[in-house]
Each structure stands twice: as C-alpha cells, then as structure tokens.
C-alpha cells in the first residue's frame, strides 16, 4: 500500500483488484516514446497554431503601405522594435500589465481554488440537492453572456466601481465552466479509495481537500488556471464598459486606442496585439511545465 496512510485501516474490506490501479497511478503514457509520425503531426499543428502570432510580429515590423501590397510580407522588416516601443509608450503598457496581471492572476487563482473544491463536492461527496445544484451550474453557462453585461453594468454603476479593478475581477469569478470541468476531471481521476483511506486516517473534509484532492487535481488545476488566465486577460467587452485608459486600464483597454486615426495604423495595432500576447506565452510556459508531471507523484510514491 502506497498512499498517504500511516497505517492501513484495521478492518477494511479487501478491495477489488481492479481498483488498485488508482492507487498506483503513475504518469500515464509516459513510457511510450513518440515516433516520427507523431513529431510530424505536432510540427504541422504547431506551425498552424503559431502562424498568426508570428505573422502578427511580421506585420508589426512592416509599415502600412507594405501590408496593403500583395503578396503580403512573409518575413520580418526592420521596424519591429521601434513599433513595439511606440506601442508600449503610447498605450502606457507598464501600468496596464500590472493591472491585468492582478486581474487575471486573482481571477484565475480564485476560480481554480473555488472550482476545485466545488467540483470535488459535486464529483465525490453525497449531499441532498447535488444533482439539481449541478444542473443549475451547467444551466448558468447556457445563457449567452453578451447581454448580461448591460444589467451588470447598471449594478457596477450603482456600486460606483467604474475604473476600479474589482469591477472586472468579481464578476469574472462566477465560473460554471471551472466547476463543471473540475467535477468531470475528479470523477475520473480521483479514486474513492484514496478519499476513504484519508477519512479512515482521520482526515476531515478540508484535510481531504488539501492532502488528496489538490495533489490529484494538479494537472487539471494548471490547465484551468491557464485557460482562465487567458480568458480574463483577453476579455474586452466588459472591461471596455468599466475601465478607461485614465483609470486602471487592463491591457486590452490600453491597446484599444493604438493605431487610431482616420487611417488606422495596422502595424502599430499589431505591435500592441503582440505585446499583449507575449506575457501569456510566458504564463503558458510556467503552467505548461506543471502539467507535464504525473498527477499523483506526491501522494503515491513513498
């Protein structure tokens, strides 16, 4: 037995053998090496995924006249760093990055935390009204959000929260997606034996969450964190309503005015878009590492 147990329960039923897999979970698929075909598919996929981003940089490095010509440029011009610098100073991106990091960071962390405990309860705990409550959670996803912002703005106006970051953060925390996501993940990934073993060990629910659920859910938490960070980072419909460039702008608000003029300066707009995306790639790199590791290393390998 390799679990968090210090001693096995005295009179535990013998477990059906197939369930022991959950206890011995190691990195799935980890031993299979990828063949050349796999690398080829990945290469194609990576190129297609990255192409628009790379082309954004190419567009930012060229002037407007070149962008309108055909064929469009396929390689970098000389103006990239000038344009990036111009975009940075014109949009006052330093402050915007700080604000957006706070907004996206707080939102993502809070959503991950709240979704994990709620998802755990929905997936693994029995309580009256569970099914109905879960349906409500999913139901909240079904109403399209584009109209909700109008009444929401009336609330924020009443609260006098315009130009303040909590006006962006707090409404973003209602994430049915996160709850549903963690529930489905934990249904699959968290064997009941581990919870029970911890219970037997005397752990109360919060300890189960800390010691069993969080370690198990780590890859899913990393993915959810990434997705929520990006979503909050890139949101613009709502931030346009509540924030301005003169009061706590997020990145999307800050770059919204770039390239302005009767003739929009496309390459400056692209430079702003590029600057707004780069920090996300950094975050991916950090969280991407998190989901490389196996899920239960901590709990299992003793």
């Amino acid at each position: 037995m390799t679990t968090t147990l210090t001693k096995p329960p005295a009179d535990a039923e013998p477990k059906p053998p197939k369930r022991s897999r959950g206890l011995k979970a190691a990195r799935a698929g980890g031993q299979m090496h990828a063949g050349p075909v796999a690398y080829l598919i990945l290469a194609v996929f990576t190129v297609v995924s990255l192409f628009p981003l790379v082309w954004t940089a190419i567009a930012a490095s060229r002037d407007n006249q070149r962008l309108a010509q055909t064929p469009p440029p396929f390689w970098f011009g000389s103006g990239l760093f000038d344009k990036l610098e111009l975009a940075w100073t014109d949009a006052n991106l330093g402050e915007a990055f700080l604000n957006t990091t706070i907004v996206a960071g707080v939102s993502a962390l809070t959503i991950v935390f709240l979704s994990t405990i709620a998802g755990f309860a929905f997936a693994k705990l029995k309580f009256r009204g569970r099914g109905a409550l879960m349906l409500i959670v999913i139901g909240t996803m079904m109403v399209p959000p584009q109209l909700q912002v109008i009444p929401l703005y009336m609330m924020v106006a009443k609260l006098d929260w315009t130009d303040q970051l909590q006006a962006v953060i707090l409404p973003s925390l209602v994430s049915a997606f996160g709850v549903f996501f963690m529930r489905q993940y934990l249904l699959q990934a968290l064997p009941d034996e581990i919870i029970e073993a911890a219970r037997v060990d005397g752990a109360n629910s919060w300890r189960v969450v800390w010691h069993v659920v969080f370690p198990t859910a780590r890859p899913a938490m990393a993915v959810l964190g990434m997705l929520m960070f990006v979503q909050t980072w890139n949101d613009f419909l709502w931030p346009f309503l509540v924030l301005t460039q003169t009061g706590n702008p997020t990145v999307q608000v800050a770059v919204a005015g770039l390239g302005r003029g009767y003739t929009p300066d496309q390459s400056l707009i692209m430079a702003g878009a590029l600057l707004g995306t780069l920090p996300l790639l950094l975050v991916f790199a950090i969280f991407g590492k998190q989901i490389v590791g196996g899920i239960m290393q901590g709990a299992v390998k003793g």
């Binding site: 407007n64 309108a68 010509q69 909590q166 346009f240 009767y262 901590g298």
Partner: protein
C-alpha cells in the same frame, strides 16, 4: 512518511497561493481607492480633465493638449481612446444611461449625434455659450442642436467629399486629367459620373474599374442629398424617398455595368486594390487622402488628383460633448471650445488631415496653403473649403448608420456579386426594416 510530508508541503504551497490571491483581491480593492484619491488631490493641485474619444480625433498627436496645458498651467488633460467607434459608442450609451463612467468630454460621431441629442440632452452641457456659432459651418452647428435650442456638441471635423482620381489611368482611357476639366465632366449630376465611367471602361487599362466600390459611390450620392433616410419630423422615409431609390438604382447600374470594383470599403482586400492601382477614381473626403497615402506604393505619389464632385456632400465628422456629471464641467466646456476653435482646427488639419468644421479656419494659412503629396501638391484646403460650405443642411436621424450600412453592405454590393438590382434592394430593405423594428 516522506510522501505525507511532501503532500503537506504542497498543500501549504497551495494555501499560500490561495491566500496570496485573496490578499491581492483585498489589495486591489484598496488600490482602486488610492488611485482615485490621488487623482483628486494629487498632481500638484491641478485640475484633471479627461476626454473619452474614438480613433479619428488626433488632438494629442497634434500637440493640442500640451499647448493647452502650457496656456493653463493648472489644467492636466488626459484622454482615453478606443480606436473603432463600433467599440466606443455602445459603452458610451451605457455610461450615458447610467450617468456613470463618463469622461469630462466625450467625442461623438456624426452618425450617432442625433440619437445622443434626442435621448441625453438633459445630461449634457449646453455648449452654445462656449462655442461661437458663427465660427462653424451652419449645418454642422445645427446637427448637434436640439429642437429646444440646446447645442450638445461642438463640431470638430467634417468630411466634404470630392472625387479623387488617378491621372495616369484617366489619361490611358483617353479622359482629361486637369482637375477643372475633370470636374466639368460630371458637374451637377451623378448620372454624368456614371456616364464618364462607361467612357472609361471602353478604353480602360486591363484589370481596372472606374470606381473602387459600390458602397463608396452610394455613400457619396446619398451624402449630397438634403433629405435621405428621415424627414424633418423624424419619420423614417428611406423606402419612399425617391432620392434614395435613385441613388441606389444608379449605383446598381454602375455595378451591373462593371464600373465599380466588387469590394467593401475598408476591408483588407479593398486596401490591396488601392495598393495595386485597380481603380481610377473614388469619392473622397480629405481624410481619405491620408488613407490612400498609407495604402499606396510610394511610386504612386503624385499620380492622384482631386476634382469637384457632381454635387457637394459630406461624409463623416465628429463632435465634442460635455456631460453635466463631470466634476469640472465648466473647465471641460472651455477646453472643448478651445479644441474646436478655428485656430486649433486648422492646426489639426495640417497635422492630421481632419478638415475643419469651423469655417472661420478656411482663411487661415494652415488651410489655404495645405498641400498633399499623393495629389501632386494640389491645394487641397482651397479645393475642399467651398465644398464644405456647399454641403446641404442634411436632415439626420438616430439610425442613419444602420440604414446606410444596410443599403451598402446588405444591398448594393450584391449587384457586383451577380444579383439583380431588385434582389439587392429587397435584401437591403428587409435587413434594414428588421434592424429598425424595436
């Protein structure tokens, strides 16, 4: 045992992260307040005036804020800009209805000015005391003035339309190239423009059309009409107005004859037709010259020229309004008046190409001496000023933009895609009526 310790440590890390999140949450709530209090009391006691604008104003780029701050050392001017009016206007409507989140000065596009005047005049300062009516074009002043006589916005720029044309392509097709002569080809009648188009087509260089797009032509014709989508009482009349139908039919005819490119303006594909010299003429307000310049190959500089249109009309332009809710409405109104005064509008024209709505600016050297590289140093200030004065006092309505967009993007463009003019008109009318119905 080791495993357990490791798990515990992980849990602690997670807990720390979570509490950091909570801390940041609390912290940023404070931040907001700090920020606000410092903006009120800070800045060395300066009065901060903020402008909320969309893309086309260009005050900051022209150095006007810096100039004003120099003249008024106790004032600090800041702006917040959203490049596209489609993204700027709906939030503005939300802000006006809730009377919150408004800047001290708000820019308003001409397509929206009537709706704002109809709905929110009580929330906006009457600027007739701050701006001097005689400085401005009468029709511009009138557009922002309510029936009860309140002027809710001061005009910034206007878009008097001329016809910009390619001298080299005209020459190749055997048409005159001198701007006076070219103007005479179609003076007074839009159908003459289409006739010239047929002449162009007969000898046109391969792969070129006479005009850039159906939308541009329809826009120009309708822009020269006094009454178009609404009548003076505010009733929607676009369907029954013979002028609108005539404009549509003429554009459709040009489309069927292949005189206009199969393009929608301001799409990237349309940009490439500028770059690749695919058309010979287009209706163009002064700011379009800047657009042409930014999309053209450098070797095409000087190949363009500007001729008078069949009839004078207007395309675009904006206003500045001052919400009453602002802390410094009085100072804001003074700034708005200064920014739209003739001297400043002339500076803006010379630096940004926005044509003044203040007719008093037309005699200033910055306007009379203005030249443009793309048009071989044509005196564009002198060409456009009379056109701006001749523009009709147009009846505008709250949903002008929706109607116009329906007629072009859901209507006449279909003719260039092989639909009959009737199908195109029906499609446009159906779209517009559905969009207007509450």
């Amino acid at each position: 045992m080791r495993a357990r310790i490791r798990t515990a440590r992980k849990a602690m890390v997670l807990a720390a992260v979570a509490s950091l999140g909570a801390g940041l949450l609390a912290g940023c709530a404070d931040d907001g307040k700090d920020e606000e209090s410092s903006s009120q009391g800070g800045n060395g006691g300066k009065t901060k005036i903020t402008l909320g604008l969309f893309g086309s104003f260009g005050f900051e780029e022209a150095g006007l804020y810096a100039e004003y701050e120099k003249l008024h050392p106790d004032i600090d001017v800041q702006q917040t800009v959203i490049e596209r009016n489609e993204n700027y206007y709906p939030p503005l409507v939300n802000h006006l209805t809730t009377n919150s989140g408004l800047q001290d000065i708000q820019g308003i596009e001409v397509g929206n000015i009537n709706e704002v005047a109809n709905n929110y005049a009580d929330k906006l300062v009457d600027l007739s005391k701050y701006g001097k009516e005689s400085d401005y074009l009468p029709w511009k002043w009138q557009q922002a003035t309510t029936k009860s006589g309140q002027t809710i916005g001061l005009g910034t720029d206007v878009g008097p339309m001329a016809i910009c044309y390619r001298k080299d392509l005209f020459e190749a097709a055997g048409l005159p190239t001198d701007r006076e002569e070219v103007g005479k080809l179609w003076a007074g009648d839009w159908t003459k423009l289409v006739e010239v188009g047929k002449r162009f087509k007969a000898k046109a260089p391969e792969g070129t059309t006479f005009l850039d797009s159906p939308g541009g032509l329809l826009n120009a014709i309708i822009g020269s009409e006094k009454e178009r989508f609404y009548d003076a009482s505010g009733k929607v009349i676009y369907k029954s107005n013979p002028a609108v139908k005539a404009a549509f039919d003429l554009t459709a005819e040009a489309g069927e004859e292949g005189l206009v490119g199969n393009q929608t303006q301001f799409q990237p594909a349309w940009d490439t037709t500028i770059a690749n010299s695919k058309f010979a003429a287009m209706s163009c307000p002064p700011w379009m010259l800047g657009y042409i310049e930014s999309k053209s190959k450098p070797e095409n500089a000087g190949k363009w020229d500007v001729a008078a249109p069949p009839k004078a009309g207007n395309w675009g332009g904006s206003f500045l309004a001052v919400p009453k809710s602002g802390k410094n409405a009085e100072e804001a109104a003074k700034l708005a008046a200064w920014l739209t005064a003739p001297e400043q509008q002339a500076k803006l024209f010379s630096k940004r190409g926005s044509f003044p709505s203040a007719q008093a600016a037309y005699d200033l050297p910055l306007v009379t001496d203005a030249k443009n590289k793309m048009t071989g140093d044509a005196p564009i200030g002198q060409i456009f000023a009379p056109l701006a004065k001749e523009s009709p006092i147009q009846v505008i309505g709250p949903k002008d933009q929706i109607i116009q967009q329906g007629l072009t993007d859901n209507g006449v463009v279909l003719v260039t895609q092989g639909k009959s003019p009737k199908e195109a008109w029906d499609n446009a009318v159906k779209t517009i009526d559905n969009n207007l119905e509450k």
